[in-house]
Symmetry: C2
Subunit: 465 residues, 2 copies
């Protein structure tokens, strides 16, 4: 059987998430993000389309490096205003039966005990449909919103995150036995107290007594997503991640990234098949080439280069220089923030860099075309690059998702590349890894805490520095 595609809609509880400037399009609904019915409509559309889930990005600060302030982000509604991602999930869950929900949350600024309870609550309310995108935060303004003078150093953030996960596993996997809750009305016993325990975690960064406040949920630990790049991030993902956001400039690079990650999982004594790989993808589809061109043009004219520069926290305001100036010249002139220009090729012109922010260039996981063209490309992503799924980038809400459902999914189904329907009652983890696999697999690091004896042992922290 050919590999089938997993698809999440890539979302954020804000106006302009990742394709900037398009909120002004008359058919875009992004300005409705404050309203419940935006989210319930969206969830129902995605479930109608049998999407795997909706995946919510998040940041907890403002992009205020570009032009030394937040004015560009504010004007462009670039991830500000933005609302809490977890709180839209219960409303979407209330109007769906099968759709999954991934939410981003940072391990750096909020205590693990409360987060463990929030995710268990969501796993109960959704009957096992939640995933967590583990991030450690990177915005300087986020650090300043939580009492820090500046960002916690990158590798140290991963060491904190490793202990954070340790606390969570103890609460989610170890604090309550599967048969702790018996609900015996005759004997008047809801929980057998001998099957619930304190975790008494004492580490370098956290002290947490427990017991976990929630009884075991369908998945216990939510499906663990993580985006990687750095060596520390890959080391962390090797131990913890079940689904990795990856990427690469070409097929060889993507395959190499996946290979490196699988090897890291093996080093952590995990079955490398226990990892899935997804990428952010842009898909613009039309019934005809003319329709595709019309869409490309209508999007391109509205895209905001300035918002993209602000999103990059660009230290150099490239809009101030002539389009035909060479990056190498700006570096030679040591313009303010020139160090950040080293990510570009020196022979590029300023206009080449700015053209990147049109959103359609230089990307492995972008396709525009009719349904057969799109499906051909997606099959290559699955078979040649070796990915398992995509987070679908939105150009217009809800046009992007609707087009994918109406035009792409039927074509993928004809090729055996997409589910025909949901399996009733499956959890998000089962949708990804198969029936019966609602819980973390036994070879995952977090599973060790199911053994009450191991729960009492000191943790073995990962070291990145």
């Amino acid at each position: 059987m050919p590999k089938q595609l997993h698809v999440n809609l890539f979302e954020m509880n804000c106006v302009s998430h990742i394709v900037h400037g398009l909120w002004v399009h008359p058919e875009n609904n992004r300005h409705r993000f404050n309203d419940l019915d935006y989210w319930t409509e969206l969830a129902q559309l995605l479930e109608y389309g049998t999407f795997d889930g909706v995946f919510l990005a998040d940041v907890i600060g403002t992009y205020d490096s570009f032009r030394d302030g937040p004015q560009t982000a504010l004007r462009e509604a670039m991830q500000i205003p933005s609302n809490d991602p977890l709180l839209v999930i219960p409303a979407m869950a209330a109007v769906t039966q099968n759709l999954g929900f991934g939410a981003t949350f940072s391990t750096t600024y909020e205590p693990p005990f409360a987060f463990a309870r929030r995710m268990s609550t969501l796993d109960h309310l959704t009957k096992g449909r939640v995933g967590w995108n583990i991030v450690t935060s990177y915005l300087p303004n986020a650090a300043r919103n939580f009492g820090h003078a500046t960002e916690v150093v990158h590798d140290h953030r991963y060491e904190i995150a490793d202990e954070y996960l340790d606390v969570l596993y103890k609460l989610w996997e170890g604090s309550w036995d599967d048969d702790a809750v018996i609900q015996d009305r005759e004997q008047r016993v809801y929980t057998d107290p001998t099957k619930v325990r304190y975790i008494d975690h004492v580490g370098e960064h956290f002290k947490v007594a427990g017991p976990h406040l929630c009884q075991p949920s369908r998945q216990r630990t939510p499906v663990l997503f993580q985006a990687t790049g750095s060596p520390a991030g890959i080391g962390f993902a090797g131990r913890h991640a079940e689904v990795v956001f990856t990427g690469g400039i070409d097929t060889a690079a993507v395959r190499a990234n996946i290979e490196a990650m699988r090897n890291k999982a093996i080093a952590h004594e995990r079955d490398p098949a226990g990892l899935k790989f997804i990428v952010m993808a842009g898909v613009i589809v039309g019934r005809t080439d003319e329709e595709v061109s019309r869409k490309l043009d209508s999007y391109r004219t509205l895209m905001s280069v300035e918002a993209s520069l602000a999103h990059q926290q660009s230290a150099v305001d490239l809009t101030r220089y002539p389009g035909d100036a060479l990056i190498s010249d700006l570096i030679a002139l040591k313009v303010k923030g020139w160090e950040s220009l080293q990510r570009y090729k020196p022979e590029w012109k300023v206009s080449t860099v700015l053209a990147q922010f049109s959103g359609f260039n230089r990307e492995r996981f972008f396709v525009a075309g009719t349904p057969t063209v799109v499906a051909d490309q997606i099959e290559k992503w699955l078979d040649e690059d070796g990915i398992d799924g995509i987070n679908l980038r939105q150009y217009l809400s809800f046009e992007t998702a609707r087009d994918f459902i109406e035009l792409v999914i039927p074509e993928l189904r004809r090729r055996g590349r997409f589910r025909e329907r949901y399996n009733d009652g499956e959890t998000l983890r089962e949708r990804l890894f198969g029936a019966g696999q609602a819980r973390l697999p036994g070879d995952h690091f977090g599973a060790r805490y199911r053994d009450a004896a191991v729960l009492q042992q000191p943790a073995r922290p990962l070291r990145f520095s």
Copy 2:
């Protein structure tokens, strides 16, 4: 016009909230608290009954003092397992238009920036239907779940809470002007950056940069609820609370408490009419006296004395002593934990104390009877005690609420004591304080931060020690 009653259903995201042992009743739905449809059914019932709202209590630890462990709490499902209170609100909001939502959250253990965003998100999603019950936490186990060796000292918790509120007001009231969001698609401006500002809060306990991540919501600051008792709590409420949970053993005591609170508000230069007073009330109603007796009996037989002792964190296990033993004797014998017995009258017997936990005795705000008897009593509470509303204690979910809706509200309406319908589109604050009053009143401490100049000034902390 006679004073009308405000009614919230008193809830908690757990099995056994405050009347313990009744979860085993065959018609009780409390074991369904993990399921979304418990909450959506409940919300629809309450909105059908034109309740003001549902009010969610919370604790973030386990009661583990009684008998030196959590076993009683676990066996009785006494506030454990318990799930996050905020996360059921969006689902209830999705199936209602008017019902209000109060949620408990502690200022002691989690950072204010994230909480500010969560409440703003809820205020957006509900279109201004949320309130916040400010607590500072008291369970020793809660402290140990958040890295503390033991509880933060009581009065110090209120000083931290005062600064916490300061941060929140700056984010909610001061960071964004009312006309900051313009959504001008022609000019491609979502927010006017000149009308959004950092808060740059630097205090004794918190450093928070801002800007707030959320655009202004209908109420901005949620309706502020607080339960008081201690002098520090009353001092805090005088500055901050809009709705105070109060009580008292008799009418004179209740009136004195209300009077003291209003005077404290005046001392903070607030209109004392800007405070409402609610009490927890037990109402057991039936069509006939026989029906009332049957209900009382069926509840009483199931009530759990042990769970109530655990809920009190009782240091003495009174169930180990003969029912006719005198409290004065136990004190004289200096039994372990005897100090805690001083709250009872020395001439009481052990059986007298334990009988308290049947839940029907010695309470000013309890009534059992036919609808006219209940309504007579409620009118006295309104007119003689001077309260404005009740949090209705549940015996059975959903019987308690359904009985109140079917039997009590019609009788209160006949007497002009209860709304006939909701006013379309009103916020929770407007329901309490009148049309047009969606925001904090101008004389409230939090309103000062609407002035950008004041936002930059150092705070004037309350001192309780």
